[in-house]
């Protein structure tokens, strides 16, 4: 691999499978399936194919919030998609999401099953389907959607930009880290200024905007992403920290954030979720204790 100073782009870029980095073995420049595999289908109307990354957490947090307020139709099976093993390139997964990214949802409660991909689209779909966590009044709804789309446009700078170059890249490149740190700090300042005078993203209502933003920006200020809270000077964003801590106390969020999670404390990993009581009996600490 070239160092940061001696690289001249060739006339036509070629795929170098030895490019290095944490995700080098799974990333590729072409779409479509790599192998045939049918996705499992559980017993509930909603079938989620996901991994407990921030984008995956958004959906499971909303589903747990919907169940917590009594929406039984939000019962779901959450199947684990191991992106490091290339599960997202199976023919079954690509049929649900041609973009081969988690999360992807199949709703079997509609006359013909409805596929939904892109985490923001899934949040909007579920919020509209059940009529919760999205305001009905037009201007508040518009504010909610503005922040939802803000998150979808902004988080790639946090994850794919800052997170990649600060945490995953095989070499530390100052130019890249500076560029994306600058942008992430600007984004945090946007949130901090807004949350100075709003208890949630849309005034006093907890909505899909909060659910979309928390797993990314809440995680980074609470030092749950990239171990970067000190580097980005998280205490400079006290209103974001307050909002993140306030939301983190919600019981449904505590459940949703551990679904399809395969790293961290064993008690915070529920690899697959098929029933509400899986949180009591199927977390990895319980499974490990039972097999001892």
């Amino acid at each position: 691999m070239s160092s940061q100073t001696d690289y001249t782009p060739p006339k036509v870029w070629q795929w170098n499978t030895e490019s290095g980095g944490t995700w080098a073995s799974t990333n590729r420049p072409i779409a479509g399936p790599t192998h045939d595999k049918v996705l499992p289908v559980g017993k509930h109307p909603l079938q989620l194919y996901s991994l407990g990354t921030p984008n995956g957490q958004k959906v499971t947090i909303l589903l747990e919030e919907l169940l917590a307020i009594g929406e039984a139709g939000a019962e779901y099976d959450a199947h684990l998609i191991k992106i490091s093993d290339g599960d997202q390139f199976s023919s079954g997964f690509v049929a649900v999401n041609p973009n081969s990214k988690i999360p992807a949802l199949m709703d079997h409660s509609t006359p013909t099953p409805t596929r939904v991909f892109e985490s923001g689209s899934i949040l909007l779909y579920l919020a509209e389907k059940f009529g919760h966590f999205i305001p009905t009044e037009h201007s508040a709804r518009t504010e909610c959607l503005s922040w939802l789309f803000w998150q979808m446009g902004s988080a790639p700078y946090l994850g794919g930009g800052f997170g990649h170059f600060y945490s995953y890249a095989p070499i530390k490149i100052e130019y890249c880290i500076d560029r994306f740190t600058m942008e992430v700090k600007r984004q945090l300042d946007v949130l901090n200024r807004h949350l100075e005078t709003h208890s949630f993203m849309v005034g006093d209502q907890y909505t899909i905007a909060d659910i979309a933003i928390w797993p990314w920006y809440g995680a980074v200020v609470q030092n749950n992403a990239y171990n970067a809270a000190e580097f980005i000077d998280a205490p400079a964003y006290p209103h974001v920290i307050r909002w993140a801590e306030q939301i983190a106390e919600r019981p449904a969020l505590k459940r949703g954030r551990i679904v399809n999670r395969i790293s961290g404390d064993l008690a915070d990993q529920l690899h697959e979720r098929h029933d509400a009581d899986d949180f009591e009996h199927r977390t990895q600490d319980k499974i490990a204790a039972a097999s001892d």
Binding site: L195, E196, T197, H198, S199, G203, D204, P238, H239, I241, R242, E245, Q246
Partner: protein, 89 residues
């Protein structure tokens, strides 16, 4: 065509409303901690914005020079930053 006039209220009513808002928020959040202060700030601004007469009373106090008297009468540590934020909006 009639022109909309922002509703307003007296200094005394404004002080009383702010006392009620801050008393409620102090029950829910610890104003000695940064997190509690941030929450009180956000909730107070939301509550004031939701009461046009109260917003009008504060705006009038800023305009006619009685804001210092208002701050002294309410005597809450978060009021000053709340007013500063409302003035910026």
């Amino acid at each position: 065509m009639s022109k909309k006039v922002a509703p307003t209220q007296s200094l005394g009513e404004t002080v009383e409303d702010l006392h009620i808002i801050f008393a409620e928020l102090d029950k829910s959040y610890d104003n000695r901690r940064p997190i509690g202060r941030s929450m009180i700030m956000a909730k107070a601004v939301e509550a004031i914005k939701n009461k046009p007469a109260l917003s009008g009373g504060i705006a009038a106090a800023m305009k006619n020079g009685t804001i210092i008297a208002l701050e002294a009468a309410v005597a809450h540590p978060i009021l000053k930053p709340v007013i500063a934020r409302l003035a910026k909006a």
